[in-house]
């Protein structure tokens, strides 16, 4: 079994954060989303991973993952170029995959339970493909699978008016090499892409059994800022957090805190977990860091009250204001305008930024 990790895409819904980097490297609980995927594949015993690269962020992704040795895996890079759809991405991996089965994992997704059960379910029978499903409350808005009593998929329907089930496809797949013949027969859809659901439907019509695995734990597509915040909450809620940094005697720390070795919480600061604070970060006097916040490396917070937010890193936040439900890009600096006249906020805001003042 091999892994194919999709790391292309423009990340347009995460602008301006993705103006300067790929969406797969946005950190959740101070770890790039893509690393969760590599670790999930490794946990499932998959150590040969093909990483699909698009036009954006190739070098940053290669800088992070390298040859895979830091993660105990072996990585081959596959340059897709134009984003012509998930089935095109899978097709580009044909030479890498060879005659093996493979897991296809979307690199901006996080899955609580990983892919071990999905792989085991696929390997328990003779399937052309296996798909991960999750129960949703609004099946009309998803690609929906109809399954029989044994869990075999009988039909895939895109955003049905009258859904036969509430089981939505969540973008995790296992394929046999038969999928490459199915992809070869595909034509681009109305949006100009080779659709992976069309490839699975083609396998079904050619008589292949398609396995399904219903994911019980949470799953997040981290394509939008609010998704990053929610994923950050979910990971901080579940993650084992270790306090290795320095907490001054007169600082107040409650709940579960991940404090990196060179991070510091100074006297007069209040931190209430679950929180993750990365290396080189300093939480100064008068600062409150509330639940579900991740403070990235080399950031300094002074005087601010911040909660349910992600500070990606290299930031200086020195203000008495309150920041909630926010995603702050690398190097974003926030100061105080209290002593300035005329009164008012001073902003230097990049293209596609979103502010609520």
């Amino acid at each position: 079994m091999k892994g194919v990790l999709l790391s292309g895409g423009t990340g347009s819904r995460l602008r301006p954060i993705t103006h300067t980097g790929p969406k797969q490297l946005v950190p959740v609980a101070n770890k790039p989303v893509l690393e969760y995927a590599v670790e999930d594949l490794k946990e499932a015993g998959i150590t040969e991973i093909g990483v699909i690269l698009g036009h954006k962020g190739r070098e940053e992704i290669q800088d992070l993952l390298g040859d895979g040795s830091d993660y105990g895996v072996e990585i081959t890079y596959i340059v897709q170029g134009n984003p012509l759809g998930l089935a095109h991405a899978a097709g580009c991996a044909k030479d890498f995959v060879g005659d093996d089965d493979f897991v296809m994992y979307l690199g901006d997704n996080i899955l609580k339970e990983g892919v071990v059960d999905l792989v085991e379910s696929f390997e328990s029978g003779d399937f052309g493909a296996g798909i991960a499903l999750q129960e949703v409350e609004n099946p009309q808005q998803f690609g929906i699978a109809d399954v029989d009593d044994q869990g075999n998929v009988t039909q895939l329907i895109e955003k049905p008016d009258e859904p036969p089930t509430n089981l939505a496809l969540i973008g995790m797949y296992v394929f046999s090499p038969a999928v490459f013949d199915a992809i070869e027969q595909l034509e681009p859809s109305w949006r100009g892409e080779l659709e992976i659901t069309d490839a699975i439907q083609s396998l079904l019509e050619d008589g292949y059994a398609i396995d399904s695995h219903v994911v019980e734990g949470w799953w997040k597509d981290t394509g939008k800022p609010e998704d990053i915040l929610e994923a950050n909450q979910l990971v901080l809620e579940d993650k084992s957090l270790k306090k290795r940094g320095t907490v001054s005697d007169d600082a107040t720390v409650d709940g579960r805190i991940e404090l990196a070795e060179s991070a510091t919480i100074e006297d007069g600061a209040v931190v209430r977990g679950p929180v993750s604070i990365a290396d080189g970060a300093v939480i100064k006097s008068g600062t409150y860091v509330g639940p579900y916040t991740s403070v990235g490396p080399n950031s300094t917070l002074e005087g601010v009250h911040i909660e349910n937010s992600v500070v990606i890193g290299e930031s200086s936040i020195n203000t008495s204001g309150r920041i909630v439900d926010s995603l702050l890009g690398k190097g974003a600096n926030i100061g105080s305008a209290d002593d300035f006249l005329p009164e008012g906020r001073r902003l230097v805001v990049g293209e596609n930024s979103q502010l609520k003042l």
Binding site: Q62, Y77, N82, L84, A93, P188
Partner: protein, 59 residues
């Protein structure tokens, strides 16, 4: 769709035909690889297929 790729003979990095065609000549994007990749590294039949159907390989 016939998906055409080329694997670098030195490092195994795979590059799609649309990427090779748009660059014509490119340094292999593999980590630390100094190999030079060309659209003409593809089989003649694959080159012709790609050029005859170029529109379908674009957005």
């Amino acid at each position: 769709m016939h998906i055409i790729t080329h694997a670098c003979t030195q490092c195994g990095t795979v590059v799609s035909a649309n990427e090779l065609e748009s660059n014509r000549v490119m340094k292999c994007p593999g980590l630390g690889c100094e190999n030079v990749l060309r659209f003409t590294d593809l089989d003649q039949a694959d080159q012709e297929h790609f050029l005859d159907n170029k529109a379908s390989y674009e957005l």
